[in-house]
Amino acid sequence: MSKSLALHLGLIAILIIAGLVLPAYHQGNLARILVLATYAVGYNVLFGYTGLLSLGHAMFFGAGMYGLGLAMQHGGVAALPAFGIGLLAAAALSAVVAVLALRTIGVAFMIVTLMFAQSAFLTVLYFGEWTRGDEGFVLQQATRQIAGLDLTNPLIRYYAALTLFAAALLITARMMQIRFGHILIAIRENEERTTMLGYNTQAHKFAALVISGTLSGAAGAAYALLFGYVGATFTSVQYSIFPLLWVLLGGAGTTIGPLIGTLFMFYLIDYTSGLTNAYLLIVGVVLVLLTLFARAGIMGEVRKRFAPWLP
């Protein structure tokens, strides 16, 4: 077994045990963190590995969330097929956005993705009759189950979240070991050179964006299903910035960085908000310090200093 596989399986084993031993409060937090970390894993495929900075990933998270939520709420679709609809919605949206946005690079790409996400946000508000806009809607507890498993039960919810995260982690880790992943890294490092070595960089960027968007959508759909709420906030610009922040903190272009970043940020806010009302000030200072002294993010620094093999 390779070091990297051992690391991933070890991490998953720890998370399995954590579900059993953690107190209810932290178990609930960790379930949420695992779903959001899946979002970050998806974001990392595009940003960390392919080197494309999107400011609009909330639209993919939202596509998954509303794909599932609307199908369940208005179509009476069962949870599992509704999850499939969420994935398809995110995949389709990311394919359309990819075709248009990948005609640009750099700052223009950031702006174009931001604009698309704003349009998606406004679309959710515009169709308020079905989406209930900002207010959102709650998914009926009775419908939130898959194969007889009640996803509102905290323990089952935790393991559902963990299953999703573990799948996303192992898929992306494997993806970065095969040739496809190496080409994504090559594009990040030097796109022009990669084209002139005979690789169709445009097609690879397209695939990366669709994979990234679909993983983000899976997280959005799971979030709605596990926590029972669908609302426009999740498609707002704030939710486009979060995964960028989590990935930067945890270490862009590392497989477990997204989880570390999400975990760190969640508990930083959780802990400091218990100390003072001015907790955002503390959070801000910590973020500034990290960007000054750990520019590669937490796992990125670990890789640089101690463990160059880190995937």
Partner: protein, 232 residues
Amino acid sequence: MSVLQTKGLTKQYAGLTAVSEVSLTVEQGQIHALIGPNGAGKSTLVGMVAGRTEPTSGEVWFEGENVTPLPAHARIRRGMAYTFQITAIYERLTLAANLELALRDRSREKAIAALDRVGLADRADQLAGDLAYGHQRLLEIAMGVAQSPKLLILDEPTQGLAESEIAEFNTLIKSLAGDTTILLIEHNMNVVMELADRITVLETGSVLAEGSPDDIKSNPDVQEAYLGHAEA
């Protein structure tokens, strides 16, 4: 047989003609040098050959096939290789990883063998960005050579190399002669005269002269382009 043919290749930028009606034939197995003063259009011309730059008009034929509509990566797949004028390597990857990407094959053995050709095999696990400039240049050339291309395009490969490194470069290129067809842009006349089978001289976007190294040396037009008018 000709490996590469350009037919009336022209590139205009907003009214400025960078390359004008260049028709060039590169024969199988030859080292064909492209020389000319700065701004003569050499890089633009090879850019159009490799597909980096879209021509305003004209055609590129590669191995008897019109490749003008093909994007750059597809031309590389058909057997062109291209080295950049400004060193383009993956600085944050190891030398071996650089070569594996160039080979389009994740065989470490082949990567090491390719590095060995330029004497860099013992540095396979170093980061390419940590190499000295001359070695980075050699790495890039190795990445071109490793692809066993039918046509190797070298855009000023010896720029910034020390004399001793240039000698190594010449040896490497000579070892390819006969198998690999090479299109070489070069400013260093010693290198050109030593390596080239055939030379095309470009000036202000047009072909000024073409011939063997001896023809070119004795061509009065070329002497004028390079040295200026006698009365100037």
